[in-house]
């Protein structure tokens, strides 16, 4: 038994362990089948999202809101105190993701997904792309004067106070909270009731596309 043999003896039980773990995991992948068979395939009603995140149980809803709302608020505030632009973008990414989950909590699933696709997948990448195009070194930062910061802070706090007063001082008209809206309904409304804004937005997007391409084009001699 040399070193070689030792290695083999050392490895063998470990490999068996790995194999066992793999088999166990495989077995567990089969577990949902049993559960689903018992559930009769009614997974679309009352599942993870609406239960745990959508909050028919108040505890889950509260947990979800405080967790992701807190994350959204925290990262939004973090943006204020970050100097590096890319970090700001990453914090913004966190805010956007958290807000998307808040949309899920508010049963606006479609909106949540669109928030992720458009904001996180599109806008944010665009922003970072913009940063990359316009930055000479990653550590480039611009200092803001103390007075400017103070003025901004004061104004923001005043605004916050005013908004709080407005939000909490108003007796909002309440109705029965609505459940999730099928995406088909949303689509039909978009092409019937909201057809004109929809078309206007389409035209706007075209204009924006052309305008952005025009602005960003390379000047050629």
């Amino acid at each position: 038994m040399g070193a070689n043999g030792e290695t083999v003896t050392v490895l063998k039980p470990q490999l068996k362990l790995i194999l066992a773990a793999v088999i166990a995991c495989m077995a567990m992948t089969a577990a949902p089948r049993v559960a689903m068979a018992s559930g009769g395939g009614g997974l679309d009603e009352g599942g993870f999202v609406s239960d745990v995140l959508g909050g028919s149980h108040p505890l889950f809803e509260a947990v979800g809101f405080y967790l992701f709302g807190g994350l959204a608020a925290f990262s939004a505030i973090a943006i204020c105190f970050t100097k590096d632009v890319v970090r700001m973008a990453i914090w913004l990414f966190a805010t956007l993701g958290a807000v998307a989950i808040l949309y899920f909590l508010l049963t606006a699933y479609f909106l949540g997904v669109i928030q992720i696709i458009v904001y996180a997948g599109g806008t944010l990448v665009l922003l970072i792309f913009g940063v990359m195009l316009t930055t000479k070194s990653p550590s480039m930062q611009f200092a803001v004067s103390k007075i400017g910061l103070a003025a901004g802070g004061v104004v923001s706090l005043l605004l916050f106070a005013a908004l709080m007063g407005l939000v909490l001082g108003t007796d909002w008209q309440r109705g029965e909270p609505t459940g999730s809206i099928p995406v088909a309904t949303l689509g039909r409304d978009l092409l019937t009731t909201y057809l004109v804004p929809f078309e206007v937005i389409s035209v706007l997007l075209l204009v924006v596309m052309i305008g952005a391409a025009y602005l960003a084009r390379q000047e050629r001699e």
Partner: protein, 105 residues
Amino acid sequence: MLEIGLNHYLVLAAIIFCAGVFSMVSKRNAIGVLIGVELVLNAVNINFVAFGKYSGGNTSIDAQVIALFVIVLAAAEAAVAVAICTNYYRNLNTIDIDRGDAVSG
């Protein structure tokens, strides 16, 4: 406090809104300002959806559609803004928006 209602969302939106305003005011990097704008728009969207949910009836659809439009507009705005930033950088060789005060009175 455990029962989550409309006010919770509105307060959260107010926080994000004010954070966005502060970002817009305190960043000298143009893209930082843009990020502040995105925050503000997101805060508004939270308000829309929350009002839609808690007002009942068909408001929910209206709110979601409007929020959808806001998202689309925000994306469009970001595209144009980034294009403007690129151009700005090409012209002034910096991204500091305080340098772009050619229109000062």
